[in-house]
Symmetry: C2
């Protein structure tokens, strides 16, 4: 039985220590490197060959986890990437998977779940926490509720508190078009005011 080598990427030292301690209980796993940021993770991968990268999405300043995943994939590193994060926002899940993540775990996952996900990842299996899976499932089941790229862009600006006029200027479109997009967004989110849309977006999508 070969040992699964792991790179831990998380900006919180305590989380890295905890994960290291946890994985240390498994004879077939070994944490061979740690990184506190996306940049550092890429560096580590240049030197240390690992089988699995376990990565947090939110990482303070600098590049976020999604970006890091994309870059690792681009550079043709062959590691399996597992997302290990606190919040399960719809947008993050989709973006992470689509950036090339093999699995998506929540930080309150049971140890066994984490071990299983890591073992599965090296075998090319995709593993996710139950709540995560159900969210993904729901997205696939209701394609009508998926925002178009333009709508998502607008919604993101909306959550910053911009007015229709400002949105128009920012996106180089007329106020009329802004209103059209907003109407579509409201319909998809199931709300009927911008206030509710902002509330829903921030809470659902983790648009902080």
């Amino acid at each position: 039985m070969s040992v699964i080598t792991v790179l831990l990427v998380d900006d919180h030292l305590v989380v890295r220590s905890g994960l290291r301690a946890l994985l240390g209980t498994q004879p077939d796993m070994a944490v061979v490197a740690e990184a506190a940021s996306g940049e550092e993770a890429l560096q580590r991968l240049e030197h240390d060959a690992v089988a699995v990268v376990v990565m947090d999405l939110a990482m303070g300043a600098g590049m976020d986890g999604i970006e890091a995943i994309r870059l690792i994939r681009e550079r043709n590193h062959s590691q399996a990437i597992l997302v290990f994060t606190t919040y399960d926002s719809d947008a993050d899940i989709v973006r992470a998977v689509d950036a090339g993540a093999m699995g998506y775990l929540l930080k309150d996952a049971a140890p066994d779940e984490i071990f299983a996900a890591i073992r599965g990842a090296v075998q090319g299996k995709s593993v996710m926490s139950a709540p995560v899976a159900s969210r993904l499932f729901q997205q696939l089941r209701n394609p009508d509720e998926i925002l178009t790229p333009r709508e998502a862009e607008l919604l993101s600006l909306l959550t910053q508190g911009l007015s229709n006029r400002e949105l128009g200027k920012r996106l180089f479109i007329s106020e009329a078009t802004v209103k059209t997009h907003l109407a579509h967004i409201y319909a998809k989110l199931g709300v009927d005011t911008r206030a509710a849309a902002i509330a829903t977006a921030i809470r659902r999508e983790g648009m902080r």
Copy 2:
């Protein structure tokens, strides 16, 4: 030199493990108990005497950290309570301190900072992370920006996306009064639309 006994309260197993590992490196500290929820923390305190409680604020379902702090204080437990959490929202800091927390640390704090905070806490010293302290300071410096209880209540409902009419019904006041409160809130937050107020509130106060 006596050993400082610690109770760890965090719903994430990895965080508890990490903290345990971290504190294990210090000869004068010993983690003697762990709890994954506020309820469990109270139970533990009935049986195990500890000098310091290190507690996360966000804890999935059930009682939140603030509530747990309040209850521990009410029951006259004499432990020093240290908040150890990810986000530094203005509201959380104020509420935690006012519920009886001795210190407020962010999860990305350096190990030395954590050790110092724990040692300080048992001596009755109050220690906080630099970003936390600066936020508190700013609140004290600008008393004009502190919302009244009623305004805070309204803002909290506002972030749920309610209209003026709905706010009025919910708070048993007229729409006119709602508008007055809103005008004051906007002035204090430095915005001029409800959308911006919601965005600011959710990002600043952590009103998730």
